[in-house]
Amino acid sequence: MSDSPGTGEYAATGDATHRERRTDAEPFISVRDLRTYYDEQTLLSRDPPVKAVDGVSFDVYDGETLGLVGESGCGKTTLGRTLVGLESATDGTVEAEGREVTDLSGGEQREWQRRVGMVFQDPEESLNDRQTVGESIREPLDAHDWPFLPVAVEGVDATVSGSTVVPIDEAASADRADITVRVDAGDYEVSVREKLPLSREDVSVSVDRDSATVSVSVAKSKAEIRRERVFELLDRVGLNEEHYYRYPHQFSGGQRQRVGIARALALEPEFLVLDEPVSALDVSVQARIINLLEEIQDELGLTYLFIAHDLAVVRHIADRVAVMYLGNIVELGPAESVYTDPSHPYTLSLLSAIPGSGSPWSGERVELRGTPPSPRDPPEGCPFATRCPAKIRPDDPDLDEETWRALDELRVVFRTRSRAEFSTLETLRGLVGAEVDPESVEEAVDDLLGDRELPPDARATVDEAVDLAVHGNDAEAAALLRDAFGSRCDEELPDVYQRDEGWKHRCLRHESGYRDAAETVDARERDDGN
């Protein structure tokens, strides 16, 4: 959603009824009009690109958990991977502290990779079965040559020397230093950053005032420090030292996920993308991992993007929630607000589909028809228009509600047919100009319209569309029906509407003159039209 500066500061003003908010939160990351397309054009296929992420804008605030929900194929995983640099953005910007991070190279990219981490649904994806768990967690430390051991010298202007340590850039603040040497008139004082598995005793320092040099040597090798770091991480995620030497296959699913989390934490990141971290786990194990993630966040002050299809899990862990459909964010707001009073018909449908009494939705289940369209070929207007239970119907006094819905569905059938991947045989039939089995078209029409009375104009249009479809022109048939019976939702991509402070959605029903989504769905359930 387009999020002009200053409008999205929910975290600063949010309702205090939910979890405590970090009141001074700044965006850690600002995403604007981000697009990630997969283009697999080869000599043989000229398919349009898969528009996995198709123009999303949002902020993630320092220290918060932003939940990202949606069904498989909606682009939520691609979005997460793009933020941490595992996919390249096709267009748009991702800024962290004012710096663009999608297009970094060399040292800057490595620096960004240290600050962000990712936890995957299937821990096996990030664990090598031939490596011990300790080696797996150590791998990012080795790859980045952690620790870097930057040394800051305070009090005098001096050069730093030493084989394993690096001098810290003076401009950079001393709080990034692992080792600080404070020199005053007659003496000096050494301190070591607390979070490092290194004590003051491991560091020996000599100060040569004449040549203005401070030489620092560290008694422990980097390998030792890394090992101890891994032990700390194992402990942090609820495992222990003996697990270092075991192999992933000796672990349960919950333990493997703990290892995945330890690995993601290795380089002391500030921001974690958690991609379905508990979906593969049993409910009792899932609860333990969720609690662990919350503890770690509080302790280390981390910022989370929590991606999941399970809405109950997201409600539990997230401060704010973004709902994604077909590459777009259709609603974003404070979790409790969105869950108790959804604005977008898709959010409403998702909530109503949660089974059991744990569901926040008390009304009837809204059954969505069909499946999401292909992200290669998203609908022209609102991405949700082909399935929306609250779609705005056109002003056509001659068509009753039922008939209009049937015609709308017929259009979706033609649209689906025109997009279907044809078998080789069908493609060949098309090439030699053979006709489509007319019976199948007629049956589809018959199925939906039956012996419904259509106004003469409408009947003529339908006949024309059927004729086109019988000759294999499904796309034209769909277009014809769209022109005749389509609604605003088929033509306009809805703007971002602001419902409340920090609560936005993209549904045309927000405009005055329309009933809101929940009322519409309710009324249609009762069948009194719109």
Binding site: Q255, R288, D310, G356, E409, D437, S440
Partner: protein
């Protein structure tokens, strides 16, 4: 779903399916695993019975046992599976091959990728109903329409990969219906599907049940799905049913500590700002006959006796509702409520039960 939740209470009516003390054992080189260890339940005509448990609880092995699909090194060692009064374990599976159909979690695995959907349904129709040619074709299209596949006449000629996951599962259900079964065993039928698609499939199953008076045995780990989809439910833990009852009553007031803990750990049932209650430890692998309560090491209300006595099922509901729990809390010796047991474990005669504390806090390997 049938309205009378107390279908078990019909006097003089034989259940469609009666599983009695079923024991299925797997023999590996190192150990024997009692995957299903004395499971009993009934399924009556037209009702949906749930079997809910975590992975490794033995619920899928129960399903496979009913269908006669247990492969080496597994064997049904004891117990009976009566279908309309006839024991299937006396090698009667082939006589009832079409009466019981199964729908698995992964629809892709149930469909052959090299044949069209229509081919596969026609094959089932030929075997089970002797239909051939255009008759079979028409029936296949009808079945696809029955399971809510739009544009069925076109879809019948498509290959499985051309259908989405939800459509594939519908096609699998259509194949299952092609045998005209009286009992449909659904083993995690919606687990691989998105929540809106899951809702569609649950509605479809409920509708088919109404129209065909189909009995459904619904197996899943998802308590929410069980709550919506079943009339009666059996909670299974480490190969044993630990609690059973009408779904609504069981969810309203679970009587076994495991059921209680399982329900508590679902995120939707705890306020977002509170920590989720958890169950420490893991589901054990039943490596021998039970001599104790298998949940005792993880149970917050366990007493000394729980480690030495294998609990039988006690009635915990209104008479005639087939509502039982296998927990000593409900035995004659104690009969404490769960709350009382937690508040005053000493009162149960416990003397310093060594509570297993985990220094690692993790799930033990």
């Amino acid at each position: 779903m049938s309205d009378d939740a107390s279908a078990a209470d019909r006097p003089g009516v034989d259940p469609l399916l009666r599983v009695e003390d079923l024991r299925t054992v797997f023999y590996t080189e190192r150990e024997e695993i009692h995957a299903v260890d004395g499971v009993s339940f009934d399924v009556h005509e037209g009702e949906t019975v749930g079997l809910v448990g975590e992975s490794g609880s033995g619920k899928s092995v129960t399903a496979r046992s009913i269908l006669g699909l247990v492969d080496e090194p597994g064997r049904i060692e004891e117990g009976a599976i009566y279908y309309r009064g006839e024991d299937l374990t006396d090698d009667n599976w082939d006589t009832h091959r079409g009466d019981i159909a199964i729908v698995f979690q992964d629809p892709g695995g149930s469909l052959n990728p090299v044949y069209t959907v229509g081919n596969q349904i026609r094959e089932a129709l030929r075997i089970h109903q002797g239909l051939r040619g255009s008759e079979a074709r028409e029936r296949a299209v009808d079945l696809l329409e029955d399971v809510g596949i739009p544009d069925a006449r076109r879809r019948v000629d498509e290959y499985p990969h051309q259908l989405s996951g939800g459509m594939q599962q519908r096609a699998v259900i259509a194949m299952a219906l092609a045998c005209d079964p009286d009992l449909l065993v659904c083993d995690e039928p919606t687990t691989a599907l998105d929540v809106t698609i899951q809702a569609q499939i649950l509605d479809l199953l409920a509708e088919l049940q109404r129209e065909e008076n189909l009995a459904i045995l619904f197996i899943t780990h998802d308590m929410g799905v069980i709550e919506d989809a079943t009339d009666r439910v059996n909670v299974i833990y480490a190969g044993e049913v630990v609690e059973r009852g009408p779904t609504e009553a069981l969810f309203e007031s679970p009587q076994h500590p495991y059921t209680r803990a399982l329900l508590d750990s679902i995120p939707g049932r705890t306020p977002p700002d509170e920590q989720l209650p958890t169950i420490e430890g893991e589901v054990p692998t039943p490596a021998g006959p039970a001599t104790d309560c298998r949940f005792a090491p993880r149970c917050p209300a366990a007493v000394d006796a729980c480690r030495t006595v294998h609990p039988e099922h006690y009635d915990v509901g209104e008479a005639g509702t087939d509502r039982t729990a296998a927990c000593l809390l409900h035995g004659d010796a104690h009969h404490y409520s769960f709350e009382e047991a937690l508040a005053d474990p000493e009162g149960l005669g416990r003397h310093g039960r060594a509570r297993e504390s985990r220094t690692d806090g993790g799930d033990r390997s």
